[in-house]
Each structure stands twice: as C-alpha cells, then as structure tokens.
C-alpha cells in the first residue's frame, strides 16, 4: 500500500498490533552479526519448524530481529511475555526452551544469561545489568522488531517523526536539532544542527545528503548493527535531514564488508519505495526524496568525508582539501551534508520527543547517548548504548562485566586508530567528548577496546600504526612516509632493537604528522603512539633498555624457561623442539639453550605439566 498521511500510519500500526496481540508467546531470535556467526539461522529455522510440528503456530510467534547486544553469547533468544533471555541457544537448547519455557512456563535457568560479576544466572532481561543500565534512543527498535518489516517499524512509532517534520519548516527542524545539542557521532563531534543549518542555507537547487556507513575502526560494529537491525530508522532520519536542508538525493556509503547491512538496507529502501515512503511526494508533503546505497571497497580512509565523496564519484578514495567544506561544494560539486549512521538514528526521536527531552540525557556539551562496541578483554563484548557522561568504569565493569579470566584492567582504547588509551587512573572519567579529548583519547565512532594486563602497549601502538600505514591513502607525505617510519621504529622496539632516541624520533614525527597531514586520518594517526608513550613510557623503556616485554607479548623479547620443580623429564619438549635446543636426560629436568631458542613456543604447547614458562 501507499502511505499518504498520518492516518495511514496509524492504520498500519493498529493492524499490526492487533495481529501481534493474537499470540500468547513471542520468540525473538537475534539475527545480528555476532549471532549470525554463531549460527542463529539454524536456531531460528529449528524454532519455526518445531513450533509448526507442535501445532503452536497460532499461539507462538517467531520473530527474527537485529542485534540484541550480547554478541559473544549468541545465538540469543528472548521469550515474551516473560522476558526471559536465553544465551548460546543451539537448536538442542531451543527444543528444551520451547518444551519447557514456552509450553510449560518453566524457566531453564542454566540457559539464561550468566552475570560474571554477580556470579549467577539472571533470567529476566530487565534484571540484567548489561541491559538495565543502558538508555536506548538509537537502538530503541534494534533487536526488538523484525528488521525487514516496515509494518513493525510503523507499529513502534516509525515514520511519525517524518510526518511531524513535514509539518514543520526547514528552519524549525534545524533549530530543534541544534537545540537538542546532538553532535556528530562519527568521531569529530561537530554539532549536527550547525552543519544542517549550513546545508540549509547553502545556495543551489541540487543538494545531497550522505550517510557515512563506512565504519572502519578495528573492533567497531555499532553502525553495522544499527543498519542490520533497524534499517527503516536510517531512511526516516535521512529523509528528515534531506527535507531540512533541501536535498532530494540521499546516498548511503556502506563498506563492502557489510553484506548483510547492504542487503537489509536495500531491501528496506525497496519496501519504503513500494509504500511511498521514498520517492515522489512522500506522505503528501510534496517533498521528493530517494536514497541510493553505494558500496565502498573497504578503504578505511573512505570514512573521511571528502574521501568518501571522491569514492562515491568513482574517483580514488582520497581526501580533498577543506575548505571548501562539503556544505559549500561536496558530492559532485553540490552542497552536501554528511553524517554518520548513528547521528541519523537520533533524529526521529528528537523530532518526536523534542530537543529538551533529548538534551535531558548527557552532560555538558555532550547530549543524548552514545553507542559503543565493547570489544577486547571484556566479558560482555557487544553493543551497548549509554547516556553521555557515564563513568568509564561503570561502562566497562558493570555493563561490560569486567575483564575476562579475572585479569587486571590495563587500558581502554577509545576512538580506534585515531584515539588514545585511558588507563586505570582515569577510569572514573565521564564518557563525553570533552573529557575524553582532555585525556588524549577521542570519542570517535564508538569503538571501545578493553585491554587487560596481558596486553603489551608498545605492541598495541605498533598494531594501530600498521593499520594506519596499510590504510593511508598515500596522498600526503607525513601520512604516507611518516607513519611508515613510525611503524618501523615501533617494529624495532618490539623486536628489542630500539634505542631511547627512537622515542624522541617517534614524538618528533608524531607532532609533525599531526600538524601537517591533510586529513583527519593522518592528523590523528600518531595518537595511539603519543598516548601510549605518555601513559606507558616505562613499558617502552623496558623493551628498549631491559630488552623485555613486561606483558610477555612480544615474541622476540620473550624467553622460555623450564621450571625444574615441575619438569618430569618426559622429553616431549625436546622431541618437539624444531631447533633441538632442549637438553636433559629422561626423568630429569630439561634445560633450554637460550642462544639457540627461536621462541616458537612448541615446548610450552606440548608440555603436559605446565613446566615451560614464558617470561
């Protein structure tokens, strides 16, 4: 059908809700990226066929949703109305859950979420701290509705903001967004309202609005989850943005590594077109708007807005000099507004509930919420959305459940390769743009990598520098060659060949690269190095002076020893050593010849008594 007005939206919502209300139970199976990897499709197929087999299709509704958040625990399933949250739901577990939970109303506690802090299972989703502490504006529908149903989206209030926006003037929308204090969620945190205002005022018949879905930070998957779980919300946000600035053409630039997001968004856009929510005269407003998805080839630099535009235009993805800014001369030379995925996901709620409501979340100049992808050595890896201003400690230890294997926290890398690390002493910092920047990190797009005591910070800096060097577009000298030289120095240091002068050179190069690189990628590239040097200088010095890696990560500096107390003289290590550097008689402690050892670790891997120690 074609939705022509608010009444039509209400009609669809009522119809859907009535249909939905017929069921006694709903089984939500997560179809997010993490759960897909853990074979949720099999679980969902099984649930559907088993429900059919039991003849319960009239009573039990099965819904395949987007990401629910606990990505390490997939496949996850939520049963309503009881709101019991099951994890690691294999088809075998699913059978039990249907037999006992759905049919008999009996909670299977051992299949439910296990909270590592509280050391117990918490069956009801609403009691789990991981969920209870979140405030979801961006993700308010993600994981809660079938991602491919426009009716479900409408039933949850979808497109009402768009209808409301069409009743407002462009200025009113821009004012509302400005007043809300929403800032760009892609990294730099530029106020969205000010950007839109510039776009609105830019002269020209043709304007473009672009969504940057080229999420490239290692360990970040917020935007992917949002698009995969709730693609219609992006359409609504961009349509409102397009209307506000006077653009009729929207582009979503999504990386090719996100095939599921690409497929689901394209499907959603197709449905939206069929329903008249993209195309000519949307909702009877007289406003024409459509969105085209362009697939990027996976270059990190194409997340930089000017490089992104070059890529859409079919050019090599290289940044351009600013000014001119995109709002002056952007895509194909037209005034263009580019926002990150998450930014658009806030728009509908701001229009519906008002700037004041939105601004009631957050602190200082950081309003609303922020979605983070928790990754690394944290127990609850996954997607979370928290109000700005939450202490980092709470984010990592309460929501994230703390550090795996009872290890000690060492640092959190915020902002990906452009960001910096936050250490134990600053764990109570408020997560907002200004506080993070003051600590040498950045909010970034929301990648949050938690590192335990087993992480070598020099090696981490080397990892990010390798990433930057691989991804530098090669346009400007400081980024193309400077980061290469920095990488080589870091490689020297982790190999035990560094000198103290190398640290000075790293700092010298860092400052020049920051000061002279053309784009944001280059200007922020030295951040992980500067931040680790300033927080962990002793660790660098240990590599350089003592030739040791305190975290025992850097293999070139590691040494393997055999603990004579534990060694039983079984000879297994000696027989597996590829360079025959382990000697010892049978049933007597063995010894490793350090001068010959190539540090391959075969002895440690083969020892059955834990006698081989890496130092």
């Amino acid at each position: 059908m074609i939705i022509k007005n608010v009444q039509d939206l209400k009609l669809v919502a009522d119809r859907y809700n009535a249909e939905f209300g017929k069921y006694e139970h709903t089984v939500y199976v997560c179809g997010g990226g993490g759960c897909i990897s853990s074979k949720c499709q099999a679980t969902k197929d099984f649930v559907e066929s088993y429900i059919k087999e039991l003849g319960l299709t009239d009573k039990v509704n099965v819904v395949f949703t987007g990401c629910m958040g606990t990505c390490a625990m997939g496949p996850v399933v939520l049963i309503e109305p009881e709101r019991i949250y099951y994890v690691h739901v294999t088809p075998e577990r699913a059978k039990d859950i249907i037999d006992r939970q759905v049919v008999k109303g009996e909670v299977i506690e051992e299949y439910t979420f296990f909270d590592a802090n509280l050391q117990k299972h918490i069956p009801c989703i609403d009691d789990i701290p991981f969920f209870a502490e979140q405030v979801q504006i961006v993700l308010n529908k993600c994981g809660k509705i079938p991602f491919d149903s426009i009716e479900a989206y409408i039933a949850k209030g979808g497109f009402t903001a768009e209808a409301k926006a069409f009743g407002m003037t462009q200025e009113q929308i821009v004012d509302e967004v400005t007043k809300s204090g929403l800032r760009g969620r892609g990294g730099a945190g530029f106020p969205t309202g000010i950007k839109w205002s510039a776009g609105m005022k830019a002269p020209g018949e043709n304007k473009c609005i672009v969504c940057n879905a080229d999420e490239g930070d290692p360990g970040a998957f917020m935007d992917r989850s949002a698009i995969e779980g709730d693609p219609f919300c992006l359409i609504e946000g961009m349509t409102i943005g397009g209307y506000a600035i006077g653009a009729h053409n929207g582009y979503v630039y999504c990386r090719a590594e996100y095939p599921v997001a690409v497929e689901r968004f394209n499907k959603a856009a197709e449905i939206a077109r069929e329903w008249g929510l993209l195309g000519k005269n949307i909702l009877g407003s007289g406003f024409d708007f459509d969105i085209e998805l362009r697939i990027g080839a996976g270059a990190f630099v194409c997340g930089e807005e000017t490089a992104l535009m070059s890529s859409i235009e079919g050019q090599r993805g290289e940044p351009r000099q600013k000014p001119p800014f995109p709002f002056e001369s952007g895509l194909f030379g037209y005034p263009t507004i580019i926002n990150n995925v998450e930014t658009y996901y806030n728009i509908a709620e701001i229009i519906n509930k008002g700037a004041d409501w939105f601004a009631s979340y957050g602190v200082g100049r950081s309003k609303g919420t922020k979605v983070f992808a928790l990754a690394g050595d944290v127990i609850n890896t996954g997607i979370v959305e928290v109000p700005m201003g939450m202490p980092l400690r709470k984010l990592i230890f309460e929501i994230g459940g703390g550090i795996v294997d009872g290890k000690k926290f060492k640092a959190a890398q915020i902002g990906g390769p452009s960001g910096g690390c936050i250490t134990e002493k600053n764990l109570d910092t408020s997560v907002d743009y200004e506080s993070l920047t003051s600590l040498g990190a950045i909010m970034g797009s929301g990648g949050l990598i938690v590192m335990s005591e087993d992480t070598c910070m020099v090696d981490t800096a080397r990892f990010f520098m390798q990433f930057i060097q691989d991804e530098s577009c090669g346009k400007c000298t400081p980024c193309r060659i400077g980061t290469k030289r920095m990488l080589e120095i870091l490689e020297r240091i982790v190999a035990g060949n560094g000198t103290l002068e190398d640290l000075d050179t790293l700092e010298e190069l860092s400052h020049v690269i920051k000061d002279t690189a053309m784009c944001g990628l280059g200007q922020t590239a030295p951040n992980p190095v500067l931040s680790t040097i300033s927080n962990f200088r002793d660790e660098y010095e240990a590599h350089i002076v003592d030739k040791s890696c305190p975290a025992h990560v850097c293999s070139a500096l590691a040494k393997y020893y055999i603990d004579p107390e534990k060694c039983r003289g079984c000879t297994l290590c000696a027989r597996n050593c590829p360079v025959q550097c382990i000697s010892g008689k049978v049933k007597e402690p063995h010894v490793i010849d350090q001068s010959k050892c190539i540090k391959c670790g075969a002895c440690q891997a083969n020892c059955k008594f834990g006698a081989v120690i890496k130092k």
């Binding site: 400007c476 000298t477 193309r480 980061t483 020049v512 002279t516």
Partner: protein
Amino acid sequence: MSKVNITINGKPYEAEAGKTILEVARENNIYIPTLCYLEGVNQYGGCRLCMVEVETNGRPMRNLQAACMIKISDGMSIKTNTERVRKARKVNLELLLSCHPKDCLSCPRSLDCELQTLSRRLNVTEPRFEGEMKDLPVEISTVMTRDMSKCVNCRRCVAMCNKIQKIGVLNAQKRGFKTVIQPSFGMNIADTDCTNCGQCISVCPVGALRETDAIDPVVKAIEDPNKYTIVQVAPAVRVAIGEPFGMPSGSVATGKMVTALKALNFDEVFDVNFGADLTIMEEGTEFLQRAKAALTGGEAVLPMMTSCSPGWIKFIEHRYPELLPNLSSCKSPHMMQGALVKTYYAEKLGKDPKDIYLVSVMPCTAKKFEIARPEMNENGVPDVDAVLTTRELANMIKQAGIDFVNLPDSEFDPPMGISTGAADIFGVTGGVMEAALRTVYELVTGRELPCENLHVAPLGDSTQIKTASLTFENVLPEYKFLEGFTANVAVTSGFDGAAQVMEMVKAGKAFHFIEVMGCPGGCIVGGGQPRGVKAEKWAARKAGIYAIDEGKQLRKSHENPAIKAIYEEYLGQPCGHKSHEILHTHYTARGKYNELI
C-alpha cells in the same frame, strides 16, 4: 575582482580575493617551498612542504596549512617563516628523502632536480628517518623510462595525464607507503592507450620519469665509419635548445644549434622545415582533392585532419578509430623527409640506404614511437633511425664539452636545409593550418592569403579550440569548383581539445579542415622540450618562432625552391604516384591495451 587585506609575516598586503596564499606570496617575492604544486597543472596539497601558520578572524588555525591550497580571506594573517613552520617543512622533506634513492651523482636529473634543490634550500645536512626504500623495477618502453623508486608522489604527472590531457592512463595505485603511480593493474605503459605525449615527463620534478635515452646508439652510429649520419631538426627545437645553456626562453639558436650538431660530427645537418614545406604541398593538395570530390558529387571524407603529431595519431587510433579516414594520409614532416633521405638522397649520394643513419631531433617523445611503427620504412630500411628530444640533444652537447652559448652560427646543409617561414610555424598550435592556408589560398586564387602579415587570427593564440572561415572568391579556372566556397577550419592542441573537436565532428559540425597537435600549445611545449613553467615558456618560444617566420623572405611552402626542385627532379607532382609510395601512410585502430584491431 575584489581586493582583500592580509598580512604576511606581519607586513600588510592587498591582494585579489580568490587567490591562494602561495600565489600572493610569490607575487610579493616571499619564498614558500613547493614540490607537488605546479602552476596551471597541479594544485594538490600532497607534499606538505608549503606549510604556513594561518590566523583567520584573529584565531590561529589549529594545524599548519598548505599555502598552495588555502585561499586568502580578509584579515587573514600568515606566517611563512616560524620555527614551527621551518621544522615541519624540513621533517616532511626529510621523510621524502628517506625513501628516495641517494644516487644523485649518477642520476640524469642531478643539478636539474627540484628535490635536490629543496634539500639545499631547506638545509638538509644528514639522512634521517631511514627505513624501507621503494624498490621497484625500472620500466623502459620505446618512449619513456619510468623509475618509480625515485617517484616522490607529487602527482604532477597524474594531473597532466588526467586533468590536462584527460587521457587517464596514470594514477595512484595501492595505498600507504606502497602507493605507486602507474597504469591500472600495474600494466606497463606500453600496453595501454598512452599517447606517448610525454607531458608527464615534462612535469616530473625528479628523475622518476624521462625519455628512453637514444644518445648511445646515436653516438655509436656517428663513430661507425661505415655509417653516414644525417641529423634533422624540428622547427620547435631551435627556440628552446638555448634554455639548458642559460639562454632565455624563445632565444632563436638555429645557427648555434647547427654548429653544435656539426661539432658532434654528424655528416650532414638538415632542417625538418624542409619536410614541413613538403607536407604542406602534399597535405594542401590532398585537401584540394578531397574538397573537389566533395563539391563535385564524388566521394570524399571531410573534414580532413592533420597528421603531423604522433601523439595525436595514437590518440585517434585508440579513441576515435571511426574517424581514421579523416586523417590526412601524409606522413609527418620528419618521416617524409626521412623517406626521401633513404630513397632520393641515398641515390644521390650513391649510398646503400642501409648505410645512412638518420637522426631526428624533436621536441617530442611520441616521435620515438612513431619511427618504430612497422609502416615507417622504405623496403625494410627505417625512414628514421633514432629520435633525440631537445633535452637529449642538450645533454649530448654538454657531454661533448661544447660551449653552446658562444658558438658561431652555421647554415643547414642543402638541399634539405632550405625552408620557408610556413615551415617554422609548424612548431606552434595553429601553424600547420596557417601554413596550409597560405599555400592553398594562393594556389586556388593566384593571390596571397588576405590576412595581416599572413597570420590567420585567431588560430595562433593559446585558446583551446580556435576556428576560422575562409571564402574562396575569383578563383583560378582550374579551381572553378571552389568559387564561393567557405572553408571552415578548426585548430586545437592537447587531447582534451582534440576530444571536444572530435565530438563536434561526430555531431555533424561542418568543419572542412582540422589541425590537431597532441601537446597543449603545440610542439614548442612538447613532451621532449626543456622543462619549466609552461605558460611563460609558451609565450616566449612562440614569439621566437613567429620572429623566424616573419624574418624570412620566403614564407609560403610552395615558394621553396628546393621543394620545387625535388618535385621536378624526383617526386613528379604532389600526391602523385611517387609521393603516395613514400610520403603517405595508413593508420590502424587500436584497443585499450594497445592491441591492433
């Protein structure tokens, strides 16, 4: 243009709005180092050597800014010489040097290298930041030698190939430190639709791009007692050859050049101008034949297009093969002359053509490809044996220890040293057309071309596409069919203009005669000419060419007595049987990978 007020290093300046910081600084003799920037070609902001501190509205910008990219605005305050600026520039230069081979002593660009000059100017005194080098194989084609280990990624060649010439063969491939400028998929340039125009070479600041050197085989031939070596020089060379020796652009150095060539022990020194006059006779006649056919109901392909520029020939073979019948079948002037040397003149000398070694000195790199075309030979003997660019000739003269500037003048050797002013202007865009019109008009009407000083305005100026019309009235009886006919001519140079004109032709625009030169501005700024800022050199060299033309007694090709003689003695008549045998050629359609179609 409105004016804005800025300060540079605390001193106030008034400058035109819309200009960049670099432009204003240069106008006021304030030095800012640049490497990737090239006026009119490349404004790229990649090398980061032109960094300056900028303050707008009283607020300092957080980072240093590239002076070549940032436009001035009212109240802007710029500092070009602070410690922060100097340090940043030097570190970036040192980074560039850190992966640049340190073989300056044996580099062909030594002392003529912009990177080397910057190193001195920015006082780089020790190698810093050493690490991995770019270890890439040197690619050698018939035309050019590409040593990408020396490339500094300034992208001037990329801009030339993509923005100016719009050929699009060269671009950056790969990312990060591995970024390399090459054709897609790392193909060899010889396997692409590169036109060999050599404009990339002429803008390269370092030793990464150069013509494939032909000096060695030429020297070998000179030294070979069994070879009779003849050299012939294109019109555009004489106004540029003085530059590498410190003479101002446009200095007419014909006499010194001939003396130098004789000092290099060539047996004879000919002028390609002779071939140019011959070309006008052949091409003019071909045009009249086509026009006659068209106007008398016969079959004729019009507009006819000139065929002097080998870059242009390769361009049309790749891009507009359907228009190949429009190309004049005339060989280019030096090839015509080569064919005559290897036939007529060999006979006259009583030598086996195989024993004659003919060298062309050209402002052009594409000529190196042209002489290797399989059709360019007479009975298996190549028309021309080697092509030297103007730059190579200058190198040869330097190697020979010849004091070029103080040489006395000499004359070209007869018979192929005699020429008219019409031939000289072949070196400038519009020149071939003007030369052709001087002869065609006079042949048809018996009167001199009715233009001031014989110059057809605006064909000679620097506009990309120029058109003119010429009506034939009171024609001689044998050209009755042309009475009242208005010939529409077009002139363009550079492949961007060429493509535009070809599209006009395809769209049915009624042109009759079109001149195309591959290099923007014509041969005087050809890919084989001494490097330097295009616009200034173009004007000076053009002035030099026109001065030669205007200074000559004979300014119309058909008045050349040597040409008359050769028709009487050997060729018979223009476009006659003999001409067709040796002075004309044919073309082949080519695909994107230079495969013949």
